[in-house]
């Protein structure tokens, strides 16, 4: 299979593991997750390891890749019994030959997504022992009304308690996910959430504007008029408040939605945005190998249904259902699209070296620099704060 050949060509990879299981599915969620699914079976975990073995060469192979980051996402990974998770991680470490997993900033970054509702002290200790050195807590809000509107099962108190428990368990790199633009949410509620989050002093904060797709229950309710979203003007104001408050508190916006204390940027996500290789394991997971395809990268994605995924892996060793071999133009579009979302922007000389053109000439709209939407600084092309609000129009 072409994908396997390409996957095995990767030399320095990130691994993403998808655990599509949740206790309940939130009304706005269009990620690949299952409600009331039986806790992930041993069969699913076995499939993940099989897929890993298919896509990367065995430990004895001299050509086998090194691993920079490992990210366990979902779903609700913390919904997994700590023992099972430990088994999964140990399996990955053994196969990839990762003996030492150290603190963030050195060695492998191992992130686990966790929800306050399912996070226990025992679990936290077990994950830590299993080498998890970065926690991404789905706090979403510190306003119970907003949490309720989102259909989350946890309360603001739960969220705070989870954070303190994590610190107590020794986690030194914690990220909080916050969400705005939620029905019934107002500027004050959002502002309070931000202040509460900053007061906890996490290393990293992600803030997302609620995006509803039509086929989610909440999307349907909004379409039918039962729910009202804050206007886009309000959502933009929320975004502006967020940037201001977080920057004042010493977090810098290294990507449109992501803020970190210096040195605590998500290495895993940064690598995805830099178009470094990542191998996704599990139902619905996405992968990318930059040297694959026709030389401009290959992306593929797995079967989303866990049962079908498991069947595929058991039969074929891997579960891809779609792939895309990028053209030069597509790769270039990605570099522009991903680059402008990041504080680092685009390295103009490097871009020219690879694609033979100045990035600026590829924009349909001219005069973006004169109009203050883009800026060139130290040989890099970046979006200004105003430009970040027009990103969809720029590229």
């Amino acid at each position: 299979m072409k994908i396997i050949e390409d996957a095995r060509r990767a030399r320095d990879i990130s691994i993403y593991v998808h655990l599509p299981f949740c206790s309940t599915k939130c009304g706005y969620c269009d990620f690949n997750s299952l409600e009331e699914g039986a806790p992930p079976t041993e069969r699913y975990l076995a499939a993940l390891l099989t897929e890993l073995q298919t896509l990367t060469p065995p430990i004895t192979d001299k050509e086998r890749p090194t691993v920079s980051t490992l990210y366990i996402g979902g779903g609700t990974p913390s919904y997994l019994p700590p023992d099972s998770l430990m088994g999964l991680l140990t399996g990955i470490y053994e196969y990839m030959g990762l003996s030492e997993v150290t603190e963030a900033g050195e060695g492998v970054e191992v992130t686990l997504e966790a929800n306050p509702g399912s996070l226990t002290k025992e679990g936290l200790a077990a994950y830590r022992e299993a080498g998890v050195n970065r926690l991404s807590i789905g706090m979403q809000s510190l306003d119970d009304r907003t949490l309720k509107a989102l259909g989350r099962t946890h309360t603001a108190d739960d969220a705070l308690r989870s954070f303190f428990d994590a610190r107590e368990a020794g986690y030194k790199n914690i990220s909080l996910d916050l969400i705005y633009g939620v029905p019934e949410q107002d500027l004050k509620g959002w502002s309070d959430t931000l202040e509460g989050a900053v007061a906890l002093s996490p290393e990293h904060i992600s803030t997302y504007c609620l995006t509803l797709s039509n086929d989610t229950p909440m999307g349907k309710a909004v379409r039918e008029g039962g729910l009202t979203l804050p206007s886009e003007e309000i959502a933009i104001e929320m975004s502006e408040i967020c940037v201001r408050k977080l920057e004042e508190a010493g977090y810098y916006r290294y990507e449109v939605s992501n803020f970190a204390r210096s040195g605590f940027e998500s290495r895993h996500n940064s690598r995805c945005w830099e178009r470094k290789d990542y191998i996704g394991l599990g139902a619905g997971a996405h992968s990318f190998v930059a040297s694959g395809g026709m030389g401009h990268g290959i992306r593929w994605w797995n079967e989303g249904d866990p049962d079908k995924y498991m069947e595929m892996v058991e039969e074929l060793g891997s579960g891809p259902v779609g792939l895309e071999e990028l053209t030069m133009e597509q790769a270039r579009t990605e570099v522009l699209m991903l680059g402008l979302r990041r504080a680092w922007g685009i390295d103009i000389d490097e871009f020219k070296r690879i694609y033979g053109v100045e990035p600026i000439v590829l924009f349909t709209n001219k005069g973006l620099i004169e109009d203050g939407l883009l800026i060139v600084k130290d040989g890099r092309l970046m979006a200004t704060e105003l430009g970040l609000l027009f990103l969809n129009e720029l590229v």
Partner: protein, 599 residues
Amino acid sequence: MVSTELIRNFSIIAHIDHGKSTLSDRLLEATGAVADRDKVAQYMDKMDLERERGVTIKAQTARLNYTAKDGKTYILNLIDTPGHVDFSYEVSRSLSACEGAILIVDASQGVEAQTLAHLYTCLDVGLVLFPVLNKIDLPSAEPDRIKEEIEEVLGLDGESAVLASAKKGIGINDILEAVVERIPPPKGDSEAPLKALMFDSWYDPYVGVVVQIRVYEGVIKKGMKIRLMAEGKEFDVDTVGVFAPAATKVASLGPGEVGFFTAAIKEVRDTNVGDTITGADNPTAEPLTGYKEIMPMVFSGLYPVDSVDYEDLKEAVSKLRLNDASFTYEPETSLALGFGFRCGFLGLFHMEIIKERLEREYDLSLITTAPTVVYRCNTISGEIIMVQNPSDLPEPNYLDFIEEPFILASIHMPSEYLGHVITLCEERRGIQRNIDFLTETRVLLTYELPLNEVVMDFYDRLKTLTRGYASMDYEYLDYRKSQLVKLDIMLNGDKVDALSLIVPKEKAYLRGRDVVEKMRTVIKRQMFDVAIQAAIGTRVIASERIRALRKNVTAKCYGGDISRKRKLLEKQKAGKKRMKMVGNVELPQEAFLAVLKTD
């Protein structure tokens, strides 16, 4: 050489969709010219584009061998004619190469304006006609009613009409017999100096221009030096042949014969349809009558959306020009649109075809400016300037008066729509010539109209008002003095030259309002406010404002699925591909044509 007694030269004339191409196919099949399994549906229409539109652009002729009931084998030359109003001159030349024509009338729809127009052309050139009622197999066919209509409207003998269904293959042999019996054989003296009519020509990259001819007198053969009488150019004949329907070499072509020759002619421009060909050494005294130089009637600017495509566009228009003498172009520069070409066309339909071919065959993304006619500007110093581009109109203080071309339009429709159509023609500054009730329910309306009003959305409006039942044909009349002014359109205070238009003075305010409003609806919101204004000289007569686009919150979560995000952008970008940046405003193609729409 073939005896003229055994030759029949004929055309098929019909309204679009009345089944001309299908009948041509059947005639070819019935005479064995096209083996069934090899046949491409509708052989006579060669270009894809034509097939899609159901019309013939370049005439294709075919020589058929038919053994009639009298036991003799005849050569039937089926001469195809282009099927649209823009090509009426070519139609007349093709028809004059024949002695007779089959007039197809749809057995349920009856006589249409175009049929009538062709009929008049046939009568003008003295052809013998016989009607064929086609689609006789359809349940809606009313042969008796249509026969009556043929007698009343066309003045032909309805009872002699051949009943046929080209689709079902009914009546095909009756038609072939009728061609032999009713159409007279050609006459001509093979000893006389060569006299042949050129009725079509096209460029072939290997042999140069291929010229289709009908010989009247004398003989044309290989090696002979010939003269094209209109411009006096001389060439040596390389090959002589016929289309059977594949090109087949013959030794010579004599009186009454139809075929082609090549003579290393490099440009289609040198071969004018309607010209007379004679021998250079022994020329005929008089050329054939009816020759006209064809002039483009409608002009429009063609610009690449992306200015880097200019060279490609240049190559593409020069290639098209090789095969289409009625298409003209010259480089033009617009402040708003950059480098492009001002192109001349026979009419709107011709323009559409050229544009589509450029986009389809040459993969170009183009902006077309609103089509205009050629204005004759008389300056106070007594000069006459022909203006094809509104932005070239001299300043008012240099202008004495402007003249614009008028046409005579024949509009054929069911009588219930007469009132609506008259109103439309009056709105368009028309002068009524005639209302002719062809039958109780069908009317032929003739109007003198400024061509300028027709190149706007006249056809569209006509079709809408009559639910598609009207058909129209036109011929060029003359230039007439009119009160005209230039209307400029400004975006954020800057005049956009490519949007200027020339309008009747009394309509200027109304048009200004309309255009500005239309522009407001077709220009998408931009990152900044856009002011749209219409002005006559320095006077702003209408203005609209497009509010800036709202900012979008881009902080969306999309996990590792970068493909999805990129595809969204690509989709958006594809939409922008047809946009032209004018200053910092993105203009879609519709904005350039907004100046045309009046409702």
